[in-house]
Amino acid sequence: MDLALKAEHKAFADEVRAFARENLSPATREKTFSGKHYDRDDHMVWQQALGKKGWLAYTWPKKYGGPGWDVTQRFLFENVLAEEGAPRILPFGPKMVGPVIYTFGTDEQKERFLPGIRSSEVSWCQGYSEPGAGSDLANLRTRAVREGDHYIVNGQKTWTSFAHWGDWIFCLVRTNTEVKAQEGISFLLIDMKTPGVTVRPIIMTDGAHHVNDVFLDNVKVPVENLIGKENEGWTCAKFLLANERLGIAEVPASKRGVSVLRQIARSEPQNGSTLADDPAFTAQIADIDLQVQALEMSELRVLSTMAQGGAPGPEVSTLKVRGSEIQQRIAELTMEAVGEYAQPYQPGMLFQDTNETPIGPDHAPPAAPRYFNMRKTSIYGGSTEIQKNIVSKMVLGL
């Protein structure tokens, strides 16, 4: 057992850092540190650069075009990119549907879809939740009826992140209504340009547009877009969710968040000094700092088990729960550090590149919107309540 890095790993970290500095646009980087929203190009230009280097699908095995990194390399890659201010890699292609396709798909499907995911030339979105199927995902009603060599799909998906940017959507659809809910579900890939697909924005509490409703009205989908066997999509669904829960803790971003928070505390005036001289406040930063460390080490222990051939178990749910609470707390403390100047609402500073000067300090405009927005982290990807049910049932046997 050893926490120290070997020389080859240090060299690897340097290589990643050099790549980030060369390929990450200063404007995108600035948005990360100031907490502004990225536009489509911020994500795509960066992801395509990673794709060209062969690093976008960094968790994939070599066989499917991944770099075949060990756990330490993945850890370093994620952390260095976060430190350098890279946007998170949108998970829908490389972390969600990609692994489903190379695990459950046919050779034709692998050849057809994996290259576009690895290069980020094709962007994906996730068609899981529905108005009546949130926490109770298996209750989904979107219906796919086989007609010759096509499915005709009807229904509605919701909370679909970046559907307005997506070329393709992977959907859970109901193909059999006669059996137990989980047994009649299939995993279907749908081209967003197919007639009958409509995207409607959902505006979030901070005014942002990230998520959407996706309406599917007699959408004709070729049978060859089915991944795995008909009615066995729940297996793909669960496989994907377990992967999702692992990365969703966002530890590297939280580490960056703590360091940004300390910088803000050093710059925020209070009683002729700064907030950094207020032990009541800095102790709260120390507290969240330690929580991040505990989470990181727990995540590393899971990754280490996986490296020895183990699969992520239901205990990853605890990482997701703590990861979301920590992200929320960092956002909360950041807003509190800004204080009264968190009150002005400046959408121009959040969503557009404007020349307008911020009201208050540079870090003020995103502080409160980010706090509001981060409430979603304990809701999406399986709410905290659902994750705790999983742990109590699957880990503790209650």
Binding site: S129, G132, G134, S135, D136, N139, T158, W159, I202, I203, M204, T205, G207, V211, E268, P269, Q270, N271, G272, L275, A280, F281, M335, E336, G339, E340, Y341, A342, Q343, P344, Y345, Q346, I359, G360, A368, P369, Y371, F372, N373, R375, K376, S378, I379, Y380, S383, T384, E385, K388
Partner: protein, 380 residues
């Protein structure tokens, strides 16, 4: 001891409830927030007609002889509707300071028309470096002939875009952060040398950054005594804090009611999600939090006119701590129990959550008031 409302107070509560029900449906509020002014003059006129603008002032000052309990009643209902009219800056802060420190002439010229709905105020105290320290003031007022000249910056001045007069806290003597040497000035909002940058706040109110560049005012612009404004400001802010606590209590009632309704109707796994014990207990905690918030607000409202400034300060800070804690718990819980719907702009919950969050940041957050209370309590 009697904690029940008088018949008149009950009528006031009914009237405020009716106003919110009729004029502040969620959709209506959205429309009002989208207007340029951000509030409706017809509602303001109605406040004047109903006597709400004068209810908490003495008859001597042209009011109707009520006090903090009347303010609490109305603010609580305003909280339920997320009312946008600038009652707090105009009546509680502006009116409050003029009533407590103004001359007879100032009261006649300003308070009387305010009570009639014809004048509005904004209170400019905060500066970039102030955080929650009311004495951290560097905007300078220097003697200029018989009058004064004001230069400096003020931030997050609520209602500045609509105000007829701005009440400005300025340094006339003393060093930075010294409570002594502060003076209040009543300045015409259109005075030469004032420039404004207006903006909406997170919770759809209106505020401004103000720059004062050699703004000349007469000697009669001084509100209260020169160099002695701090106790007036502290008292007015403590009153405003208690009023905000009442508003927050109303917000909590409304957000809890919306959440309760949601978990009774939203079905997952074949049953309303309110059947799950983990949500039942959380809902109970929300209810308990709102009760504690109401209790502390009532206690503060009953103590805020105490002769002893320490009693007043402790009451205001104590209530603000409770409101910060309870508001955060109810707000975050409501969002969580609403699931994805809770983080959208579409439902009212996110709007109550935003207001509760901003109330915590106004005039000192939970931590600030815990420290202030602690210092006062240890000194006793």
């Amino acid at each position: 001891m009697d904690l029940s409302l008088s018949d008149e107070q009950k009528q006031l509560k009914d009237a405020a409830e009716r106003f919110v029900r009729d004029k502040y449906t969620f959709e209506n509020r959205r429309k009002i927030a989208a207007t340029e002014r951000g509030w409706l003059p017809e509602n303001w006129s109605q406040f004047a007609e109903l006597g709400w603008l004068g209810m908490s002032f003495s008859e001597e000052d042209g009011g109707y002889g009520g006090g903090p309990i009347e303010t609490m009643i109305v603010m609580e209902e305003f909280g339920k509707g997320l009312v946008l009219e600038p009652f707090l800056p105009t009546v509680v802060l502006g009116g409050g300071m003029i009533a407590s420190a103004g001359t007879k002439a100032q009261k006649e010229a300003l308070l009387a028309p305010m009570i009639e709905g014809k004048k509005q105020f904004a209170f400019a105290w905060l500066e970039r470096q102030s955080r929650y320290n009311l004495a951290d003031v560097s905007l300078k007022a220097t003697k200029e002939g018989a009058g004064w000249s004001l230069s400096g910056h003020k931030g997050v001045v609520y209602n500045a875009p609509s105000a007829d007069h701005i009440i400005v806290l300025a340094r006339t003597a003393g060093s930075a952060r010294e409570p002594k040497g502060l003076t209040l000035f009543i300045v015409d909002a259109k005075a030469k040398g004032i420039s404004r940058r207006d903006y909406p706040t997170q919770d759809a109110l209106r505020a401004s950054e103000l720059t004062f560049d050699k703004v000349s005012v007469g000697a009669d612009a001084v509100l209260g005594k020169v160099d002695e404004a701090f106790p007036v400001v502290e008292g007015a802010v403590d009153r405003a804090i208690v009023a905000l606590c009442a508003e927050a209590t109303g917000c909590m009632d409304a957000i809890n009611a919306a959440t309760l309704e949601y978990i009774k109707t939203r079905k997952q796994f074949g049953v309303p999600i309110g059947k799950f014990q983990v949500l039942q207990h959380r809902m109970v905690d929300c209810f308990t939090n709102a009760q504690e918030a109401r209790s502390m607000t009532l206690m503060a409202s009953l103590k805020i006119d105490d002769k002893d400034a320490t009693v007043r300060a402790k009451a205001a800070s104590g209530a603000k701590v409770q409101i910060g804690k309870s508001g955060k718990f109810c707000g975050q819980s409501a969002v969580q129990m609403h699931g994805g719907m809770g983080v959208t702009d579409e439902l009212s919950v996110s709007h109550y959550f935003k207001r509760l969050t901003m109330i915590d940041l106004m005039f000192g957050n939970q931590q600030h008031h815990l420290t202030r209370y602690s210092n006062l309590a240890m000194a006793a």
